[in-house]
Amino acid sequence: MNELMTGFGGLMVPRFDVEEVLIAPWTRYADATVWMVLMAVLLGVPCALLGNYLMLRRMALAGDAISHSVLPGLVISYLIFRDLGTLPMMGGAMVAGLVTTVLIEFITGRSRLKTDAAMGITYTTLFALGMFLVNRYAGRVHLDADCVLFGELEYVPLAEPSGLRVGRLGAVPMPVVIAGGMAVGTVGLLMVFSRWLLVTSFDGGFARSVGIRAGAVHYGLMALLSVVVVTALESVGLLVAALLVLPGATAQFFARRMGRLHGLAVVFAVTASVAGIHLGAWLNCPSAAAIALAGGAQFAVAWGVSVWLRGRAVEGVAG
């Protein structure tokens, strides 16, 4: 026990050593770290942009809800296709994401319940269904529930290599290629449809009057969210909600216009990714969680500064 305690204390409060703390995390497994950072940024940037729109629509929790409710989609897709490849998993998750969205809309449209209750009912029931299926067909489904829940960013460099090669670093891991494709697609779609998204977020009546179908935009956004969530699932698990919300929530302390908000959110997403991977390598803990913590720390600092500045402003007025 004693031994355990000291070992443990050593872990919790590491000795401060510049080499160990600042440099080793980046040099020890340099090649692997590059891929992890790239992966985190490729996931973090589209998530940050998407999260801004979700928060505008007061649907920040949709990311968390969908990240739970894709589970049955993954299991059923596996049971049908017997394949854990990208395509069936993406397809299953997208269908599950859309089913979630349709169910939430259906329940709110046809009963007295509000969006929050409908969301709660839908995602918990679907998650339970997923766990039930995993449970029932445990022998035949090689889905690691822990992996779905927590994600393993550390496995990215170890994943199967793709055909793509980059100079000294060698073959690009497959997940990075997939995430890159997702990031380009998501950012592209968001840029193309940014006006539609903005108009439908702020003024549904006006959107209808200029011929934008708010319903279609909503479902499109949710479909995109499902794709992003499932791409991120293997690497960051349920913490995809952190990637979605934290950068935008931090950025809104400094920005009021959409362009600036997006720009700052991207910056915060990148800094959180780098800081998080550093933290993860240093403390030897899961990088996904460390990225979320780094994002949370950024938010806390920005929050504290804003409260302090407001206090000073009030003092200035009073004095």
Partner: protein, 457 residues
């Protein structure tokens, strides 16, 4: 007493589900369950039923305040508390873990409140921020634990109702009893908090205190329930029974009672199914049972169900078509100066089916020698609809400033909706008019074909 009727329904529901469960498994297992012969069932059932009761009550209050996703936040936010409790004592003693969970749970709802109070973030974003950061902290702490100690923590993540011991069941009982007593004692406070907190503050009620009380009870419920069903699925048990109950009534006290009953029913059914089908984990089964209940209520609730809604939409549509048909016949008779009640199908525009439907209702009758005629009742009904239509047209042109040629479509809809007291009011407002904007006579109540003919010029 409606509560007892509900009780009957819920018990019946459980019975039906269990009977259908018996189709899947052998009857012997079912008997084992009912007679409580199995040790696992005896261990799990009381705790799970109390959990259902507690979550049902608290979920109802959350839904009333649109705070449902708070259950989600809490269920993630207890994770670092569990890990911290373990780090503090280096044992898996439940008391330490529960205390840790309670602390971080309460802390998470406080932080959410602070964020809402001091930033421009909306409730959903604030909850997301808190949820993800707490959850991430929990994961980091769990991964930092020495190897081999994580296994015990899985129980909190996924739950294991069959392993509930007496102490844990006792804890669930205490939490449930606390909720019942507090909600009973502070019913009015929770009512005001749920529906009009502004009034409560103005009236000097300690609204904030009730809010904190609600947060505390909810956190406690999540914390004591997680060993049975796992942290993630507690959120489901918080929402679903309450949401189902809100589909049956709009009165808080009734919804509370019903939600508690439904929560317990889901617990019994879930325990039974997970016992009957070997190897089915309790948590998911419970939530799935609750989900099925919600689905049933959503479709079939006598007051707010979808079936009910669809039937009334269908009925309204049929009534509208019948009334439009009668109106068409009235216009035909009017064009002839009400010289008789007879008409031919072609000129009236009625379909064969429609005229049969009207005949069944005694509105028209077949005349020997070909053709149909309106009965007295049918004429009265037709005159009523035409009166509504023309009166509304007149009201729109005279009072609402509509142009004469823009009022017809609006009146087409209103004619089916105006009740007699609206008509009396309109009549008064418009000074008992005789002609509509297009110069046609407005029928009166009690008009018959003879009086109409006499007044027609």
């Amino acid at each position: 007493m409606s509560v007892w009727r509900w009780f009957g329904w819920v018990v019946g529901l459980v019975g039906v589900m269990m009977l259908s469960g018996c189709g899947v498994v052998s009857g012997e297992r079912a008997v084992d369950f009912v007679m409580l012969r199995d040790g696992h069932v005896r261990a799990a059932l009381p705790g799970v039923v109390l959990l259902g009761l507690n979550c049902g009550l608290l979920g109802t209050l959350l839904i009333a305040r649109r705070l449902t996703m708070l259950g989600d936040t809490l269920s993630h936010a207890v994770l670092p508390g569990i890990a911290a409790g373990f780090l503090w004592t280096m044992t898996k003693h439940p008391a330490a873990l529960l205390c840790g969970a309670l602390v971080t749970g309460v802390l998470s709802s406080l932080v959410t409140g602070w964020i809402l109070g001091t930033t421009r973030l909306k409730a959903d974003a604030a909850q997301s921020v808190v949820l993800t950061v707490f959850f991430a902290a929990g994961i980091v702490m769990i991964k930092l634990l020495p190897d081999g100690t994580k296994a015990g923590l899985d129980r909190f993540l996924y739950g294991q109702a069959a392993a509930l011991d007496a102490g844990e069941t006792m804890l669930l009982a205490v939490a449930a009893a606390l909720s019942v007593v507090v909600i009973w004692w502070g019913y009015r406070g929770f009512l005001v908090l749920s529906f009009d907190p502004g009034y409560g503050r103005a009236a000097g009620l300690p609204v904030k205190g009730f809010h904190l009380l609600q947060m505390f009870l909810t956190t406690l419920a999540v914390v004591v329930s997680m060993q049975a069903v796992g942290v993630i699925l507690v959120a489901g048990l918080l929402v679903i029974p309450g949401a189902t109950a809100w589909l049956f009534s709009a009165r808080l006290h009734r919804v509370l009672v019903l939600a508690a009953l439904l929560g317990m029913a889901a617990a019994v059914m879930g325990t039974f199914l997970s016992f009957a089908g070997d190897g089915m984990a309790m948590g998911p089964t419970l939530v799935l049972c609750a989900g099925v209940m919600f689905g049933g209520a959503f479709l079939l609730s006598p007051r707010y169900g979808m079936a009910r809604r669809m039937v009334s939409v269908l009925r309204h549509g049929r009534r509208v078509r019948r009334e439009d048909g009668l109106k068409g016949v009235y216009r035909v008779l009017e064009d002839r100066g009400f010289s008789g009640a007879g008409f031919r199908l072609e000129e009236s525009g009625l379909s064969e089916r429609m005229v049969r439907s009207l005949e069944r209702r005694g509105m028209v009758r077949f005349v020997s020698g070909g053709g149909w005629e309106l009965t007295e009742r049918g004429f009265g009904e037709a005159a009523r609809v035409v009166r509504n239509h023309r009166l509304w047209e007149l009201y729109l042109t005279r009072r609402a400033g509509f142009a004469e040629d823009h009022v017809h479509d609006a009146a087409e809809e209103m004619e089916h909706l105006l009740a007699e007291e609206n008509i009396a009011h309109l009549m008064g407002v418009l000074g008992h008019p005789d002609r509509d904007p297009h110069g046609r006579r407005i029928p009166r109540a009690g008009d018959t074909i003879e009086t109409s003919a006499a007044r027609h010029e």
